[in-house]
Symmetry: C3
Subunit: 166 residues, 3 copies
Amino acid sequence: MSEAANETGTEQMTIIAFSGDLDKLWPTTILASTAAANGMDVTIFFTFWGLMPLVREDVRHTGNDAMTKMLSYMNPPGFKRANLSKLKFGGMGSWMMRKVAAKNNLLPPEELFEMAQEMGVEMWPCQMTMDLLGIEHSDMVPGLGEPAGAATALARMSKSEISLFI
Amino acid sequence: MSEAANETGTEQMTIIAFSGDLDKLWPTTILASTAAANGMDVTIFFTFWGLMPLVREDVRHTGNDAMTKMLSYMNPPGFKRANLSKLKFGGMGSWMMRKVAAKNNLLPPEELFEMAQEMGVEMWPCQMTMDLLGIEHSDMVPGLGEPAGAATALARMSKSEISLFI
Amino acid sequence: MSEAANETGTEQMTIIAFSGDLDKLWPTTILASTAAANGMDVTIFFTFWGLMPLVREDVRHTGNDAMTKMLSYMNPPGFKRANLSKLKFGGMGSWMMRKVAAKNNLLPPEELFEMAQEMGVEMWPCQMTMDLLGIEHSDMVPGLGEPAGAATALARMSKSEISLFI
């Protein structure tokens, strides 16, 4: 039990969102919004591939040199361009999964993300990944927290009842 | 440390089994059975792809409409049809890995799963995934707990010394 | 909060390094070295694919029979032969990612690993995986801890403020 929890009585959860895959964006956003709805303080630290969904939909490609631009072509940014981790089939898998989700009233990750934001979930972009992939703060969706590093994420995790790497 | 642990003196572990890949079924079932053997209270919450291994071997395909049926063709259910997360080679990788495991007396995941069940590990299927993929309770192996949701899994994790997303 | 932490005042983190993919070796080694730099006691338990990067660079292939040797051909050992979990493109993805990392002064995982070792991070190879894949202690990089099993890893995790499965 964290000291913070002892002091404030509020439980904490921290998720390291390493994956930007569509199928993993669902547990990240479902767990975060459900925990927030149940009164927990929730932080998501978006790092590596996990940063790509945070890029705004109208920013089609990111990068500040040939290499990072090519990486963003190979791995298109934005929630709506996220692919499944398996059953890719040239994007058909993610299209099917979104159809199945919609039919069953499961919100898409981009809407669960916004809902979680409105419920106070802190969304931290990883500073190192931004530098690495040449992603500017202005490339990303609004309402994110200050870019953070591993030390900040670790400090938050050490005070959290639940820490998950997704 | 959870309040429950303080009260009962029993440590808890909760695993979110998101992956249904053969290679990840081993750590899930090995950690669960080993923890149970060492006196811990263990719960596994099977969600998304992780639900597919729980489908009975004689149920060759699942789904309640064209889309979910096609998904189950692309991602065949049951422990014994699980593929590796890498080195797939059309199923040869998982065949080889099972051979190597058998030669080294490492039980296959389906047997470790049953052993863990017998040792009292609670196996919770994710209700939302069942709805999403059109999987009925009768499609699944016996001895599972009641279908559960994210809030129930979070409550268990917040009382667990160890929570892992696999 | 673990009893050990109560006694010594030192926080603990345990990482189960299941993946040997280049992109996941970065969070493993960055989190471990950053946590150690901030005074935490850190243990990494290298298991399954995660054991392969620990094989020395001059050991080109491992295995003690036809099957395990073939597995090591399909999944070459050593940090420098690690591939990305996605965007493989026959090794071009990992080559590009290493270039991008070097340009941005992000150390490669093999150097972060050594730095973490020097800072006292305990590196535990999984005994079962060594047996399974036919990897000898002499095949691996120096400075590793004694081979450990799931029970030892679980005991360490149950005393850790942060436990992650990567």
